[in-house]
Symmetry: C3
């Protein structure tokens, strides 16, 4: 964790290196291909028909199968890591994450972040960095836009705080902001039998809880392959030698891996939720390690029509993922705290055909 | 194994849910790409030149490299699982599996099954379901057609049997039915050196036994990635938490994984068997678990010319796969029972250039 | 290790099977696709922008992203294994490895080797085979050319040596021979921020040492998937059953896996070294096993301008990889011997924009 021994090696940014309003063009643009899609499928086993079948996607209204929304998220997120969170102590949160344009195989993704908040912690050893990150495609269009905040170490405790501002971030994305990445859906051309579910938007009610039933065990090779695929360089995911004497004694799985697993599990009960339109917020409640089996359940927090659209509606979901604990009884809290099995508490919007 | 806690979650079909003649259009059409091919190659290391090289395939008579026949099988099979075998106690058998059209990367596969037989077991707790499953490409052509039977639990022991019929299935596919998925092969353009074997159809004799020599160890991450790639949702392959208190105490590897490993191993001795034209039957003699090393050997059961074709001939093979036991002495039976190392006994037809 | 029980099974070549001047057309041509690229990325997490982004590659001067040079090497190397090194006791060295033409996804690779040297060992049990191997693309152009020597068992100790010649091989590829696989680079169009490094050719000095900082742990599934992807059939990488009673008691990781890991790690400090132009030599100092964490550091051995080119310059690098030992103090020798943590000592040329 000391400064690297070579001036050519990137040490990442420390808290005092950030400035309010600073824009960071992240490295390593990435052409995402059908190869990445196959590997993503092999790792998560997703079954949403729009992302699985070009023919189904065309019949629904897409040009062909778009990338899984979370694959787009992970690739863009990965680019921000070397600049934003290489010296992070903790990933504290996301907010206002919106998917703005479908991304098809063959598209090259870039990412830019802007520092929108800074707040030194009272111990002077760390500070919180708030960034708004955007992913762009070849044409320069924004495909994803989200805010994130992380606690970052200072290089020197004596360095002055580089700024002080806590940005206001929305607790939830407004329904009017949803759907930019979803073409007009042909609800008649959308085939329920092929999609694997007869339940459409109107069939889901606020307060309804769904146990996604299945469990899936994570192996070290799997999360390492996934996280490298996104070119995410966070060391804690890959370096058993260092982590064996670290906080957990072992490699920590990238939080996004749990999100993708929960999303794939959610197919069983939400099979027509073909598009993840926005993430309102998320909390990685507990660390996830290889060997654990992930389960998930969801609650419908809200339903919303989209202004000017009668093809799709939005469900606001809270999906809870657990480790080594089935979710038939919807585990969540244990008194004021989370149930010790809970690892993820995710609040997001999905679109469903009407 | 009880009914799910949400009516949105698919419980799969129980024995009494099936009807004779029922047709099931399976969910999740799947566009299979060069990405899937790469992952399949990484998992099995297949070396048949037709599937490895577009140039070789063109020179032989294909448009380009077709998908490995077993990849087509696994993808189609995977689609049938949520409807047919989610509540299966045992996969009992396959028969009459014919590959009918080459499948190239970019093709979207669908699957439909018809219930062709039902037979309740005397304990009234389970019954045998016979289905004929067909995989279709974008144009609606059948690319694979096979029968399969599984023992499925009843939801309620008191429910009446939904039918009683045991279909007649052929013990072997007739040679006249072979080869629909194989274009006319240019036997002069087919280069033995590049293919890796100088032995063609006429060089194999009935009764000949071939030890495929090599062994390959299976890891948990590998079979999970493979089985998810096929969108096969059988829980026993993925859920260590549940299986730790299950029949084996651990995850069971998808039987098709053993078939693909045996087929890849069989290259050493059968390098010109470029097309798996039909599966006559197969038995998963014993369960396979991660950490085991698979070996295989084959016997030539029959040779056959194909009516009207002088480009290729068919070999009927019996391939035996073992775990943690080399096959130099062709292990098979131990008295009336199988040798305890045997895990797979597969009867199938391959095509070879003449 | 005895002769196979079937005459159809390839036993590989033994020392006495080789002849000076013999040319071997290797089996299994291979069309390398974006699927292979994705899997390579997932396994190594490479971040060189030219290979990651079609757009970046085009702006730099390529047609699109070429394959990672080491992926080309591994695929060509894999083809040579069944003929050259299936009965090898040890891989002794490489020399004069030059990358001669960019390889893009969709290209089909073939390989041919020529026996350029033979030398029986005094124990009469083994001999050293020197081959020059070349990889070709669809058009028949050579894309890679390298020499390699391996110690191969004799089938019969009494067999006479098939020849005696030790070829002269260059200790290093001359700068004038570098760059054939690198198009003219538009150094203005090459964007340092996107590439992830502000350091170009002129910023590196002879004698400079760079610790690549990060460590990456290897899992069994990962190296098996990689090595099968290259259709490398060396048994020691895959067969835990046999190796459990072998030299190491476990599977040995393909040496090329360590090279690819070291190359990926070297991005941190050498981010603009976008092309591996030549390998002068390499030594696998110690075996690598799953579970180990790889670290790496590099020294600049030389810098060179390329005759007639002012777009790129060449750095001759010595990259040392270690297992379970960080490289902040540049571990190399321990007296006359290598530091016990060192597993790889690689001498090669990379190109950087000027």
């Amino acid at each position: 964790m000391s400064a690297p021994s070579s001036p050519k090696t990137s040490p990442g940014n420390f808290f005092e290196d950030f400035r309010l309003g600073q824009k960071i063009r992240h490295a390593t643009p990435r052409t995402v291909t059908v190869g990445d899609v196959a590997l993503y499928n092999g790792l998560f086993g997703s079954r949403f028909a729009v992302q699985s079948s070009d023919t189904f996607a065309k019949n629904a209204g897409y040009l062909r199968s778009p990338l899984d929304d979370l694959l787009v998220f992970h690739v863009v997120f990965g680019k921000t890591v070397p600049d934003v969170s290489l010296n992070a102590v903790a990933n504290l949160g996301y907010a206002d994450c919106r998917f703005l344009k479908p991304v098809y195989p063959g598209v090259t993704l870039n990412a830019v972040s802007e520092v929108i908040g800074l707040r030194e912690n009272s111990n002077k050893k760390t500070g919180i960095v708030y960034v708004r990150s955007r992913g762009f495609d070849d044409t320069g269009d924004v495909v994803i836009d989200y805010a994130r905040w992380v606690m970052v170490r200072k290089r020197n405790e004596g360095a002055p705080a580089p700024g002080e501002k806590v940005p206001e971030l929305p607790k939830t994305v407004e329904p009017a902001q949803l759907g930019a990445a979803c073409p007009k859906i042909d609800t008649a051309g959308y085939d329920n039998a092929l999609a694997g579910s007869s339940h459409r938007f109107a069939d889901y009610k606020v307060g309804e809880k769904i146990d996604h039933v299945d469990g899936i065990t994570v192996e070290e090779a799997e999360h390492q392959i996934a996280t490298r695929l996104y070119q995410n360089t966070a060391r804690i995911h890959f370096n058993q030698f260092a982590e064996s004497s670290g906080r957990f004694g072992r490699r920590l799985i990238y939080g996004g891996h749990a999100i993708s697993l929960a999303r794939a599990l959610s197919f069983n009960g939400l099979g027509n939720a073909f598009h993840l339109a926005a993430i309102n917020g998320g909390r990685h409640v507990a660390p996830l390690f290889a060997g654990c089996t992930i389960f998930a359940w969801s609650e419908i927090l809200a339903t919303a029509e989209l202004p000017g659209r009668n093809d799709v509606g939005a469900l606001r979901l809270r999906t809870i993922a657990t480790k080594d604990r089935p979710c038939a009884d919807f585990p969540l809290k244990d008194g004021d705290d989370y149930d010790p099995a809970v690892i993820l508490d995710l609040d997001y919007w999905v679109l469903m055909p009407r």
